[in-house]
Structures are given as C-alpha cells and as structure tokens.
C-alpha cells in the first residue's frame, strides 16, 4: 500500500479554511467542507457564486490564497514538485462543462492516451480498457470515430470515460450538462447515476435539481463564495433553512 492511500482519513476530500480572491474581489470565503468516501455531493447555487471556482481548486486548476484541500490525506495546495502534483491530479477525475476532448485523436485514443502516457500502461491493455469504458458509457460503436463527429451528449460521455480510464477514486463534474441540448442531458445524467450506484465518490456542480434529488447524498448550497447550507436532498428541497436557498428554489420553480 502506498502512503497516498492511507486509510485513516474517512474523507476523500477535506476542504479547510479555503479563501480565494481575484484581485480585491473575494470568490471563496473561508470554505470548510468534507466529502466522505463513496459520497455523492451536489454543489448548487446562483451563477457567479463560486461553485465552479471551488471545484476547480480541488484539483488545483485554480490556486487558492489560503487554507488547504486534502485529497486522500495529502494537501494538494502544499508547495510540491510538479511531478507530485501531476500524480495527484491523475487520481482525480475531472469532467468539464465544454468536454475538452482532444479533437485530433479518435474516441478510443482519447480514452487510452493518458493511461499510456501518464501511467505507463501498455498500449494494448489501455486500448482494451478504453473499449470496456466506452461500452460502459454506451459508445462502444463510436470507438473509431473522432470527437467532431459526435453529438454533445456523446462527447461528454466520452469525456467521462476518459476521466475514468485513469481509475480515479474521486470524480469531479463541473456543470457537465450545461452545454448540452435538453434532449442530451438525460444520457449523461444516466451515466453519472450508474457511477454513483457503483459507489464512486463524486462532487458535482450542476443545475439539474432532479439529479440532485435522486442521486446526491448531500447538497452544498453556495452563495457569494460561502457554503451557506449543507443538507440532504429531502431537507434541502422540502425545508431549506437559509432564506437565500429558499429564494433560489423558488426561482427554479418558475
């Protein structure tokens, strides 16, 4: 067992006193929160509240000004060699709003490239694994297609398979369905639901309240850079405590 898999910490992600500013403007204010292993957390809140920034700090695509974020017991914002950071990042799956597939590679190469180049997995092993993952997201028949030939929903499912190929213990989703046509949202959410059912630890920024209600173990409601309510979906949707959350939910019903 490698030291990074220290089992003592029951939390997969531990966010402590995290603050971040863009110039003088605070985007995250003293955030404290944890995600347990196997837990599915949905982050919601009005636009500009800092949801995306928060989830991007977890794999250090964004730097923070103070605080710490530990992943499997290691502070990902500690000063470290870039090698070490790359290794930590390779163990955190990340799905972008805009897919960011590699357009010059076929679908199967998109999925298998990083295991080969980053983890040193043998090419044929990575290829077989990629085909299995594509089958899992329902795209086995698109293995040799290129991203440009796929619909948005298909591209996002490939992006999920690509992230899963690194076998991360944690998956982060940054508004994965916001760039999709409405009829394609369902296919992506179905893949995410099946991941949650398999016990994946997930942290997901989304506006899909139906998904939050059905799949989330907990909901974090963010406003103006602060988590102002943490609740189970039942509590959150039936009796939100914070007036800002009440207003947010009321606005969603219109």
């Amino acid at each position: 067992m490698t030291p990074s898999e220290s089992p003592q910490d029951t939390y997969a992600i531990r966010i402590s006193k995290v603050s971040k500013k863009y110039g003088d403007y605070p985007v995250l204010k003293d955030i404290n929160a944890q995600v347990a292993r196997g837990e599915v957390v949905v982050i919601c809140g009005p636009s500009g509240s800092g949801k995306s920034t928060l989830i991007r700090t977890i794999n250090r695509l964004e730097e923070i000004n103070s605080g710490s974020i530990s992943f499997d017991g290691q502070n990902i914002h500690a000063p470290m060699k870039t090698r070490e950071l790359n290794h930590l990042r390779s163990r955190i799956g990340f799905v972008f709003q805009s897919f960011n597939l590699f357009p010059h590679l076929s679908v199967v190469d998109n999925v298998s490239m990083s295991p080969v180049r980053v983890k040193g997995v043998a090419r044929d092993v990575a290829h077989d694994q990629a085909l299995r993952l594509l089958d899992r997201v329902g795209l086995a028949d698109k293995a040799n297609a290129f991203p440009g030939q796929l619909s948005g929903g298909q591209q996002q499912r490939v992006a999920i398979a690509r992230a899963l190929a690194m076998e991360p213990p944690v998956m982060l989703f940054d508004e994965p369905t916001s760039a999709l046509d409405p009829e394609m949202v369902g296919e992506v959410l179905a893949v995410m639901k099946s991941l949650a059912a398999d016990g994946m630890t997930m942290l997901c920024v989304t506006h899909e309240m139906g998904f939050a209600r059905d799949v989330a173990d907990r909901i974090w409601f963010i406003d103006a850079g602060q988590i102002i309510e943490t609740a189970t979906p039942e509590e959150f949707f039936t009796s939100p405590r914070h007036p800002r959350a009440q207003r947010f939910l009321a606005d969603l019903r219109h």
């Binding site: 990042r89 805009s98 590699f102 357009p103 010059h104 040799n144 290129f146």
Partner: protein, 252 residues
C-alpha cells in the same frame, strides 16, 4: 526566345545544377536545395522552442527571446546577413565560411518569424485543452507533445508553409556574400552571355517556382491526409472534408 533559353540550358546546365563542383565549391541548384533544406530543418524545431520560451511564465526565459524575436523581425534580412558576414570574423577572428554565415542567419531569422506562427497556433487553442491534459495528470511537456502541438501545428500548416517557402526564396540573398547558390550561378551565366539577362533570369524564376510549388504541393497533400484522418475518413469518398485544405493554395 525559346531557342535562346534551350541553348542556355544546354550550355550551362551543369553550372546551374552544381556550380563549379568538383573543381570548386558545390553550388547551383544543389547548394540552394541543401541550404533551403538545412534552414527549414533547423529553423522549425528552433521556432517551437522559441515559441514555448515566449509563452513561458519565467521572465528570464521569456524576455531574451521576446527581444530576439522583435529585433530579428524589425531588421531587414539583408542587413542581418551583412552584419554576420562582416562582424562575426571581426569579433571572433574566426574565418567563417559564407555558407555557414548564411545558414545561421537564415535559421535565426526564419525561426523568429515561425515562432510567432507557432505561438499563435498554441494561443488560439485556448485554455481548455491544456486544462484537460493537466487534469488527466500530464506534465507540461507531455501536454505540449501529445495534446497542444499536434493541434496547433496542424492548424498553422498554411502559415508555416508560407514561412518555409519564403525561407527558400530568401536563400537567394546569399548571393551578396558570395554563397555559390543557384542565383550566383545564374548571374555567372549572365555575366558570360551579357546580352540575354531576360532569358537567364526567366530560367532562374522558373526553377524557384518549381521548387516552391513542389513544397506547397507536398504540404497540401499532407494537410489533406490529416484532415481526412481526423474526420474519420481514412477510406474513399471524402470529398466534403477537403475544403479547409483549399486555404493553402490561396497562400501563394
């Protein structure tokens, strides 16, 4: 007129092809091709390094290269050639062959131009691709090699090709420092004939056109092949996807 041209080629083809060789240095078309090939082969990788340095977050890497690029782009090539030709021996005392002087100057000059093309290609890709690569655990160089450059260089093929073509044409300036290239050979022929400059330099123009056209054609074929592959159409029946490749023919 046609007869004159045929006669010139018949009498001087060997001089135009290889210069004075083997009685003197290799020259003519052979030397032009060698100089062009070496310039392009050295300038292209150098330009990628310069572009990465220009985009670097470290000022001690970014600043010197930025200065180099600005100065090189802001000065006529002919002036750089004359500087290298007169100043390098004066400063170092070394007797540098004019071919080496020409090659070095051309490589630096064209690499500076090309680096801006490469940089534009990288910047135009946007942050998303780099972020996706980082999120998967790729380091900077891995991301560049496997994700960013294959896309940036492909997108920039038309501009890169233009720079290659102008590199070939700029080898003619070696004439002023006595690099025995094709232009040098042609002007020797002209000096011997005295009365037929139009015919001699028409031959010269046609040869340069043929070289540059061949390169353009090869690049066009290459671009079309990549375009087809990336559209997932490795087989036949891909007429619709060759449209982007048309841009290349408009560069000439």
């Amino acid at each position: 007129m046609i007869n004159d041209i045929i006669a010139i080629i018949r009498d001087y083809w060997l001089l135009l092809l290889i210069g004075q060789y083997p009685n003197g240095p290799l020259g003519g078309l052979a030397n032009t091709l060698i100089l062009s090939a070496l310039s392009i082969a050295l300038a292209f990788p150098l330009s990628i390094l310069l572009a990465l340095a220009r985009l670097s977050k470290w000022p001690f890497l970014r600043w010197p290269v930025t200065v180099l690029v600005y100065v090189t782009r802001g000065v006529p090539l002919l002036m750089l050639i004359l500087w290298s030709y007169f100043l390098v021996p004066l400063l170092t005392g070394a007797d540098v062959p004019s071919f080496v002087t020409m090659l070095t100057t051309l490589v630096i000059y064209q690499a500076a131009f090309l680096s801006e093309v490469v940089r534009a290609g990288i910047v135009a890709l946007g942050q998303g691709q780099m972020e996706a690569a980082k999120a998967l655990g790729h380091g900077y160089f891995g991301a560049m090699r496997f994700v960013i450059l294959p896309q940036a260089l492909y997108n920039m093929i038309p501009s890169i090709l233009s720079t290659f073509v102008s590199t070939i044409k700029d080898t003619t300036l070696g004439y002023v420092i006595n690099v025995p290239d094709l232009t040098f050979a042609a002007s020797q022929v002209n000096n011997q004939l005295l009365t037929q400059p139009f015919q001699v330099f028409l031959i010269l123009a046609l040869i340069y056109y043929a070289i540059c056209w061949s390169l353009t054609h090869v690049a066009y074929r290459l671009e079309r092949r990549i375009t087809r592959k990336r559209a997932g159409l490795t087989g036949a029946g891909a007429a619709a996807v060759i449209a982007p490749a048309k841009i290349i023919s408009e560069q000439l």
